[in-house]
Amino acid sequence: MLEISNTVNGDVSEVKLVGRLDVKAAKNADQAFTQAVEASKNVVLDMSELDYIASAGLRALKRLRSDVSANGGTLVLRGVQSNVMELFEMTGFAVMFTFE
């Protein structure tokens, strides 16, 4: 299960992901990311309560990154848990993102 909440503060959209970003949840995450990008230039992804991310989730993040940079904005991943970070490291995705 993945819970997604979107909030917008000025020109920053904050998306909080709670739970597991797996194949099933990737589609919902994709939609939430699209909304966030439409709402504002910069996006902060709060991943402090995201326990798991699958390759489909990574793909959604990759797409979010493309969309944000197409807008000329910045994307920040906040509070990434260590096991999720491991996956970022293993797949080399870590290099694509700014972590906070």
Binding site: K24, Y52, A54, S55, A56, E89, T91, G92, M96
Partner: protein, 830 residues
């Protein structure tokens, strides 16, 4: 009614509204929210019960009844908070009303009011459940609900007092408007307040209305229109009937008196005339002088003697002498008295005379020898003679219950009334009579009361019949009230019946259809819609079944395509026999089990040259057809690059360059590529964001940590890739396998297989499984690991492709050992 009473009544009206607001706000508080619904219903019921009691006690006493808004409380409780609360409030209010007779609340409506209040609670509870489906009725429905409850209540007053309908009627008539209005208003205001508190729009937006609500609204509108039309029509008909009844009654009364007076007057004048005929026995002897003397002594206006030819021969008025009786209409009527005509006496009504139309006079004639005498008198001549008769005629008569008969003379002075009414001024009556025409209905004020009246001119009098307007309209008002009350009930019943029918046929049909459709939309295309309650549903069901059938056919086509795609995908994975059938230095075993029909995982192996075997395990992000296509591309690109290059890291780099070039869909592939030198057992490998390689050395499986985090394929373009820090770039690793050593590579479908509690299979369980396997031979390893995964996830569905590849190095051997049997490959399918 003083201000205080009215204020109390207003407070009683508003109290249920206040309670609705307070209880709703209270329920939202956490301290109250935990009270179970059953207890809450009792609390609400008791509170509204107490308000009902206040309603009784704050009522306005009225002839054995009590005008009150008690019913508003159980209505609000039942409609807005729940059936049990409404019924409890109704019972409390009803029972208290029953007991309240002991401290002076009206006895007459005891049963009706007690029952009415209990009914209100039950009725509200039933409406909430069966009609309004637990939603808060909007303002107009709340108002109508209040009206119907009060009408039922007041009809109960009739039903329980059938022996005293007149009194019941008076009470109902006095109560109906204020009570029904205040109860309805109270209910409506509660609805208003609750709509605001629950943030509900007062008018439901069109798209949010369900069939039942739309029907309710339309029906209510139609009913209000029909109600107003019928009441208006009834009112017009009843008013005109009432007026004609009144006219008839007045007319009859006037005629009665008229007859009496005419009779008396005729008799009186005839008596005088007979007296005259005795004094003048023969026309030949008559003299005008004699006539004058007689007229004076008898106090009459005129005496004429007419001869056998119909000419006046003697008269009190000398100008009449020689007048031909046949020349005027009025006078010619007397010719019946001429000798030979057979009639002896004739009396004529008071009327204008032929000689001079401006004079009215009453004549009587009696035959004498050779002619007849005619006596005429004016009104003033006989008023005194008749006053006794007029008085007695009027005295014992009345019109309707309280109506009067009044006789006035030509000057407008009242000659006679029933006598039990003191008439202070008659000028007003006289003026109204003067303004009206005889025989016409007019209104006037008599003895301080507005009355319908009509009058006749009788013998110089005016006989007036008067009927108080209130009495005249009483019967109209009562039938109108009954019609109104009954119509409210009839229309309410009609509303409920239509509601029930529609709900039964339409709504139930739609619900059933929705349930069946939901099964279809959840993927069960074999469900047949069979709602056939009405022809519309039947045809809709048929249409849907046809559509679903067509959908099924085209889905079957798509499915066939997908099946074929899966088959193609499976076929592109190499088989051991084909690739390395001649090599017995190794045992190779691989499997790929897609989660969906076409997956994103793949493995590959092929000989680059005689001594080098390439091994690939890869995972394309995502699932379905796009992933499958990208997989084909990835596989082709990697193979193409590897065939001309023995350096895995550089193969991956080139593959990345190819794959990232046109990757609009943000796909990516994690991949592991190993190049195994059969002659030496040296395995050189590099990975692109892929899982760790498991190694079997010294009789033990382990999962050495992966030092770098090389990026997955197709994430970065060639240009971006070259700008990456060293640690993210592809790098070669080398491991030398001794005979008997083995390697195991896999995709995240293995380590991230998930059980129902969302726990991952993980690397530790993988290593344990590898070590627990009966042997290090890939032919044992792969099925065993798959079995362990199945045991771990149990019933949880598989979401990711599971791909495994195992290689054991046997070492350089003679080629006659039947190694071909050892190398085999399966593609397991679930």
């Amino acid at each position: 009614m003083d201000i205080g009473t009215i204020a109390q009544f207003a407070v009683a009206t508003l109290m249920p509204v206040m309670a609705c607001i307070a209880l709703t706000l209270l329920r939202k508080r956490t301290s109250v929210a935990h009270i179970p619904e059953r207890g809450w219903q009792v609390i609400v019921g008791v509170i509204f019960g107490l308000i009902a009691i206040y309603g009784t006690e704050a009522g306005i006493p009225l002839d054995g009844a009590m005008m009150n808004v008690r019913d508003a409380a159980p209505l609000a409780a039942g409609l807005f908070f729940g059936g049990p609360a409404g019924i409890i409030a109704g019972l409390i209010g009803g029972i208290e009303r029953w007991l309240a007779v002991m401290w002076g609340v009206g006895e007459f409506t005891r049963v009706a009011c007690s029952l009415g209040t209990i009914f209100a609670g039950v009725y509200a509870a039933a409406l909430r459940k069966y009609v309004f489906n637990y939603y808060i009725p909007n303002l107009s429905f709340a108002f109508a609900t209040g009206i119907v409850a009060e009408v039922m209540h007041l009809l109960l007053v009739f039903v329980t007092n059938l022996d005293q309908t007149a009194r019941a009627f008076e009470i109902v008539q006095a109560c109906v408007v204020p009570m029904a209005f205040c109860v309805a208003l109270s209910t409506m205001l509660s609805s208003f307040a609750l709509h605001l508190l629950h943030n509900k729009p007062l008018i439901t937006p069109v798209g949010d209305r369900n069939v039942v609500r739309i029907l309710h609204t339309r029906m209510l509108m139609a009913i209000v229109v029909a109600f107003l039309l019928t009441v208006g029509f009834t009112s017009i008909v009843q008013t005109s009937r009432s007026l004609s009844d009144t006219t008839e009654l007045l007319e009859l009364s006037v005629e009665d008196v008229e007859e009496d007076i005419v009779d008396a007057s005729d008799e009186n004048l005839l008596e005088i005339t007979k007296h005259v005929s005795a004094a003048i026995p023969s026309a030949a002897d008559a003299t005008s002088e004699g006539c004058r003397q007689l007229a004076e002594s008898l106090d009459v206006a005129e005496i004429n003697v007419i001869d056998a030819n119909g000419f006046i021969v003697a008269s009190t008025a000398s100008e009449f002498i020689g007048f031909d009786m046949a020349s005027g209409e009025q006078s010619s009527e007397f010719l019946v008295l001429l000798p030979g005509s057979g009639q002896q006496e004739f009396v004529q009504a008071y009327r204008p005379i032929s000689y001079d139309a401006s004079t009215s006079r009453k004549y009587a004639g009696v035959s004498i020898e050779g002619g007849f005498v005619q006596v005429g008198y004016d009104a003033q001549n006989f008023v005194s003679d008749l006053s006794a008769q007029v008085e007695s005629s009027v005295k014992n008569r009345h019109v309707g219950q309280r109506g009067e008969l009044v006789v006035i003379d030509e000057e407008g002075a009242i000659v006679s009334t029933r006598g039990d009414i003191a008439v202070e001024s008659d000028a007003h009556l006289a003026a109204d009579v003067e303004a009206a025409e005889a025989g016409q209905l007019f209104t006037t004020t008599f003895a301080g009361e507005e009355c319908f009246a009509t009058y006749h001119e009788v013998e110089g009098y005016r006989v007036i019949a008067l009927l108080p307007v209130s009495e005249a309209n009483a019967s109209r008002d009562s039938s109108l009230l009954l019609v109104v009350l009954m119509e409210v009930i009839v229309f309410a019943a009609l509303f409920l019946v239509i509601h029930a029918v529609v709900k039964l046929v339409v709504v139930r049909g739609i619900r059933r259809m929705t349930v069946q459709l939901a099964q279809i939309t959840q993927g069960d295309l074999d469900v047949e819609i069979d709602v056939r309650d009405a022809t519309e549903f039947t045809s809709l069901s048929n249409d849907i079944n046809l559509t679903v059938g067509a959908l099924k056919t085209s889905l079957a086509t798509v499915q066939a395509d997908l099946d074929m795609a899966a088959e193609i995908q499976a076929n592109v994975l190499p088989t051991i026999t084909r690739v390395i059938s001649a090599r017995d230095e190794i045992e190779l075993f691989s499997s790929m089990e897609p989660a969906k029909e076409v997956g994103g995982d793949f493995y590959d192996f092929f000989m680059i040259d005689d001594d080098h075997l390439a091994l690939v395990v890869a995972d394309v992000s995502g699932k379905g057809v796009p992933a499958a296509l990208f997989m084909m591309l990835s596989k082709t690109v990697i193979k193409m690059e590897a065939l001309s290059n023995l350096d895995p890291a550089s193969v991956l780099m080139r593959a990345n360059a190819d794959l990232s070039e046109k990757n609009d869909d943000d796909m990516f592939t994690t991949a592991w590529l190993g190049i195994f030198e059969l002659s030496t057992g040296i395995l050189t490998y590099a990975d692109a964001g892929h899982e760790k390689l498991a190694l079997f050395r010294n009789g033990k499986w382990e999962l050495p940590p992966k030092p770098n985090g090389a990026v997955a394929l197709a994430v970065f373009t060639q240009e971006d890739y070259s700008g990456l820090p060293e640690k993210y770039r592809f790098r070669n690793h080398t491991v030398v396998l001794q005979p008997g050593d083995a390697v195991f590579q896999y995709t995240d479908g293995v380590t991230e297989a998930t059980d129902a509690q969302e726990e991952l299979f993980g690397e530790e369980r993988l290593v344990d499984a590898l070590n627990e396997a009966p042997s290090a031979s890939p032919g044992d390893i792969l099925p065993f690991v798959r079995e362990q995964i199945s045991e771990f996830v149990k019933d949880a569905p598989q979401f990711d492709d599971i791909t495994m590849l195992g290689l054991r190095y046997i070492g350089k051997k003679a080629t006659d050992g039947g190694g071909g049997e050892k190398g085999h490959q399966t593609v397991s399918e679930s």
